[in-house]
Structure formats: C-alpha cells, structure tokens
Symmetry: C2
Subunit: 408 residues, 2 copies
Amino acid sequence: MPNIGIVGSGIAGLHLGLYLRKHDIPVTIYSDKTAAQLAEGRLLNTVAHHRTTLDRETELGVDHWDLDEYGYFCNHHYIGGPSPMYFRGDFPTPSRALDYRVYLPRLAQDFEERGGTLAVRPVTPNNIVELSDQHDLMVISTGRAGLGAMFGRRADKSPYDAPQRNLAVGLYHGVTYNDPKGLSLSVSPGHGELLEIPMYSHEGHVTGLLFEAIPGASDLNELRDTRYDEDPAAFEKLVLAKLQAHFPGVFERVDPTRFSVTRPQDVLQGGVTPVVREDYTRLPNGKYAIALGDAHMTVDPMIGQGANTASFSAFTVGEAIVEDLGFDERLCLRIANRRAGHLMSAADWANFMVRREPAPHLLELFARMNEDDRVCRDVVDNFNFPERQWDIMSTPERTRAYLASFAA
Amino acid sequence: MPNIGIVGSGIAGLHLGLYLRKHDIPVTIYSDKTAAQLAEGRLLNTVAHHRTTLDRETELGVDHWDLDEYGYFCNHHYIGGPSPMYFRGDFPTPSRALDYRVYLPRLAQDFEERGGTLAVRPVTPNNIVELSDQHDLMVISTGRAGLGAMFGRRADKSPYDAPQRNLAVGLYHGVTYNDPKGLSLSVSPGHGELLEIPMYSHEGHVTGLLFEAIPGASDLNELRDTRYDEDPAAFEKLVLAKLQAHFPGVFERVDPTRFSVTRPQDVLQGGVTPVVREDYTRLPNGKYAIALGDAHMTVDPMIGQGANTASFSAFTVGEAIVEDLGFDERLCLRIANRRAGHLMSAADWANFMVRREPAPHLLELFARMNEDDRVCRDVVDNFNFPERQWDIMSTPERTRAYLASFAA
C-alpha cells in the first residue's frame, strides 16, 4: 500500500487527502495550522464552487451545506458603457460560495475522522526531502514558504510578471441578494470589474465584493490603495461611492444604513501575479514531488478558476495514484498529461480575461450572450469546463464558429 | 462544415475517412492506388487486429468478416531455451488477421459508397500545400514519398537508427492451425522470434510466418539474406530447417509435403527502423497537417502495435475534428495530448521488446505468465491497451508491483 505526503491544507490538499482516504490509502497532510486555526485569521479568498466541484464534494462525502440554503442559481451580468447590457445565465444545478474559514476546518475534521493524519508543523523546501523519506510520493499543494519555487516557472504559460488587476475584496452586510440569488459579474469599461458573491461566513449569509481594478488610470485603484485598516469608515464610504459610480446594478440593492464590512479581518487588499509552474520535480533522494493547486498555478480570481481547478487537479492526481503501479516519472507525466487540457485552458482563459483592453471577439460574445439565452447559459456553464470555454474564446475564428453553431 | 484532406489509403487513412463520413464530414483521401490496385501487388504486412480495433470496425460498419470463420481466439507462447515453456492466453473476444490486399480495397469501397472521395494521384511534400488550399486540415497517414519527413523525428522517443530485427515474412500453405486457433509467438533465445498468424488472404485461410532475426550472429538472419525470388524452393527449404531448429512447437504442425509460399508476391524481406515523429506541422499557407499512422510512428511488427495504434490514432483525430471548433494549433495540441499516452506507450513497449538482450524483469513476467493463467490472460489482453502494458513493463519495480497485485 502506498503512503502519500501532502503539503498544504487548502482545497487542493484536502480534496486529494479525502480522495485518497476514500480509497484507503495512508496519507499525511502537513499544515502550519490546526483545524481550529484554519477557522481564524484574515479572509483567505472569496471562492465560489461550481457544480462540478460540488459533484466532487458529494463524491468525497463532504457535502455538508444544503444547496437550498447555501446555494445560488445563476450569474447576473452587468456590462457598463454607453449602451449598458444586463443578462442572466441560469445554472442547470446550483453553485455555492462558503468562506474558507468555515469550509476548510470542516474538511480537515472529515479528513482526520477518516483516518488521515494532519501533521501541524512548518514545511519549507529545506525539509521536503526529509519528509519525503517517509512517503512514496510528495504532493505540494501550497505555494507559500517558497514551496512554489520548487517547480520551474513555465514561461510559455506565464505571460505576466505583475498582477493584472489590483484587488480589494471584503465581506459585507447590507447588500440584498439578487433575485434569483446569484453571483453578479459587472464590468466598468476602462476601470475594471466587480464580482458580487452570495457567501456564507462566520457572520451568516453575507456578500463578498471583489473589486478588480485595472492598474494605471482606473478610478477603482483607490480601493486597493486606501487601506481599510487605517480608517474602516472611510473605506466603506469609498466602496459605496465606487459602487454608485461604476456598478449601479449592484448599488441599487445596497442599504447604506446597514452597509459595512462584516468583521475587521474580513478584508483583503492586494493582487495576484498569474503563474504556471512545472508539474513535478525529482527530489535529491530520487522521490518525486507533484505540484498541485497554488504550487502549480495561480490565476487572477476574476473567473473563479483557482479553487475549482485545484479540486479538479486533486482528483486527477488522486485517480492516477489509485490506478497506477509506481511513483516514478511515468506517474508524474501521466498526471501532467491528464490535467493539461483543463488546467492550461483555465490559465489561458484567465490571462485572456484580465487583458487591459478586452478582445473584440470577447465583446462580440457578450453581445450574443445578451441576445440569446442559449449562448448565455452555455458560456456560464462552461465555467465548469475551462477547456470548452477556451475552445470558444481562444481565437476570433473559434468564437465565430461557436456562435454560428447556434444558428444551425 | 469542415472539409478534411487525408493522404494515404492504409488503415489509418481509411479508418479516419470512414469515421468522418459517419459524421457527414466531407473528406478526400489521396492515394497513389485505386481500390482495385490495393488488392494487387506484394504482401504489405501480416497484421492482426486486436479486439478494440474490431470494436472500432464495428462502429465504422466495416465488420464484413465473421469472427466464427475469420477470427482467432488466443495467443500461444513458446519460450525456448534449456527449460522451454509453453503457455496460452485466451482472449475475452476474438482477434482477426486479414491480408491487407483483401482488407483495404473493401474499406476503400465502403468509403466511396458513403460519399468519400478517393482521389488517385501521387502526393509528395511538394504538392501538399496546394492540396491543403482545398481543405481545412490535412492529415498525412503515410510515410512514403518523403511525407514522413515533413514531421520532425523525436529523438526522445526514437532510440534506434537501424532496424533491431531483420524480418522475413510470408504467407504459407501447409501449416495446421493451433488448437484453439490462435496466433503463436515463439522465442529462440539469442536468435529471435517467430510470429505465426492465422490469416485470411486471396488464397483463403493461410498462415503468416514472420521471422524476427536479431542482427549479428543469429542463425535466423539467413532468412532475410536468402532472397526468395532467386530460388523459391531453396527458400522454403530454409524456412523448414529454421522452424525445425528454432521453433519446434510450430514445426510439428507443418506438413512438409504441402508446405509452400502461397504466391510469389506473398513474401517480404527487410526491416523497420522504429521512429516517432512530431504530431503536426504548420504549412507555409498557415494550414496545419497532422501526422497519422506510419507518418507519425513506425514500430517493429513483433508486438502487432502498428496497425492497431494507427486505428486508435485515427479515431482520436476523428473525434477531435468532430468535437472541435477550429483547425488551428489548439486542435493539433489536443490531438497530441489525447493520443500520447496510448501511442508513446506502444512505441516504448515495442522498442523494449526488440532489445537484443531481454530485460530480466521481462523474463520474470514470462515465468509468471507460465505459472498463473490470470497473469497470462491479462498481459495478452493488454495488447489492446499499450498504456497499461507499458505501466507493467517499463521498470522492474512496476513489474514486481504488478505481479504482487495478483497475490493480494
């Protein structure tokens, strides 16, 4: 029976750990936090799980949050500019957004209850080899503490050397959910985007507002540069002003008297430099280490692919471990091959969406989503299938061929 | 509707052409031979179709040869040496070996009857671009006329620069089939191998004998060097002598009074230099050409992977064409990704089997096939699944892990 070591207790590490326990494979997750500590601290992200990720959660038996209460049912789109557009894409089945300080501790508890070992200790590239002596294979699922740099940066898939959006994200009271309850994606041309996410957190049902400001002249950059911690009330006032000026479709559902950040630790300001790293590396003792989740790739959060692709990737790694006979380079190459289409499409698509000037064929696609509900639902469902999405968006010719297929 | 051009009318080109016609896609096969001419000429090969290839033929509607009459049911193995071994691996469903001068013309007829265009004309690298102007995508399925060299040789997958076996293959009368009817694979240690294939040809039910002589000191090299055409009777006598000396398990079923080559054109002598080439190339006019079948890879015929992997590859290309929206590099990379595991495993496995000294873990595996029918059937069925086969054989550790799984 193989024995697997996983570094990192985010969704990637926990989904893989739970997958392997489901197949009775001994597994240790190394984390710098206990399950209780995972529940504390600053907001980690504002992640939505799409339906294929929820299917994986059902398969893992960690579907603890009933969709009638915690789910949402569609994406609302507000495209600003001289001729504003609003269109809605309904999902075949719901999505769900949970604060990871609620989500991760519960999964860590599941993992331990099912015989997984959660070893709380710091891990750095310097002690990976020592840990790997106790395992057949190491999986590195966090990029922190220099662990990402164990894997070479893939220049062919990493077109940027800085964040393409300045981010300001927080959890808020005082925003009435859209009807039907859904995530909204709003575009303020030339300035950036807003994701409004119906989330469940320690404070109950709240709203995640993720502002994505285009670096440079965008009026939204103040939201990253005005530090919430220095003057919370001024920050909240600034958010309201930006909503009113750039995202009226969201602003109209805000009750200014109730509007506030939920707790001081529920705000994050910064940015993500997108990167794709090599799939695996050979350690000095001959063992292999697989890159997973943030250690393997990071994307701007605009299209919600980071956590969902990390979960997909965790299952790909888990399936290969369960099926295969060895823990050698052949296994690593098989994993790389199987996840390449999905993951590289997500990376390419995310990098395409954060261009400072949107591609004309993306605007063509938006216009058709606005006109034709079949197109809208299909594109929205493709958030589950980044390979299909990038098939549609990667060139103008492909977008046109795709749109023509609806006429036929 | 896309329009596909295929160069070459072997199994790869015809299976792809028929697949595309099944999906109503316009397709032209360029061949230097008419369907009638395909029925003539020298023996092309002695190919057996394994059950997954037969499943593809059923899907294509070209299953014209009833398995009760044309099929065979197992592999017989004779391993010579100081302690000879005989063991038999039964198939879950039959295989079938047809002379390609019977098989290909019938499929070419099917192709034309189903609306495919068979354009008889010579094609060289010089007129590919001109042809490609009339198509969305070109698929090159023959390596002849310099067409293989359109695609770069992959040094990482092409370990040899000369044939690893000298081949002498012919169709014969006078060999009684094994019972149950099956292909036999015999090993004469230090000299080479014999494949005995129950085939159907223009002369009816005959036997293909494919001698694989290890270059150098092997006593079997005479079979390649003694030219059949110069003295047919002497050649037949030599074959009998080599059967008696090296392959007694086959020789005992030969009736010397009836033993003869079926027709003068039914003998081939030579060798194959294994090579893997790049998956695709971009033509000067911006169109893409995909390598398929012999244009993509050639393997020694010992393990019968050439035609079967060509058929698999044709379906992979066909599926990608039917599903995808564009005829660009993304399509080519998708095809490369999807077929890599199967095809590269077949190439690596074939190159492993033609080593001059067999790997010790291969001999271990043979010994266990001899002892344990479950192992034998499984390895024999893996001729359909080269990726699984190479999972088992690629390292001694994997072979041992595989064999241990039967003890558990």
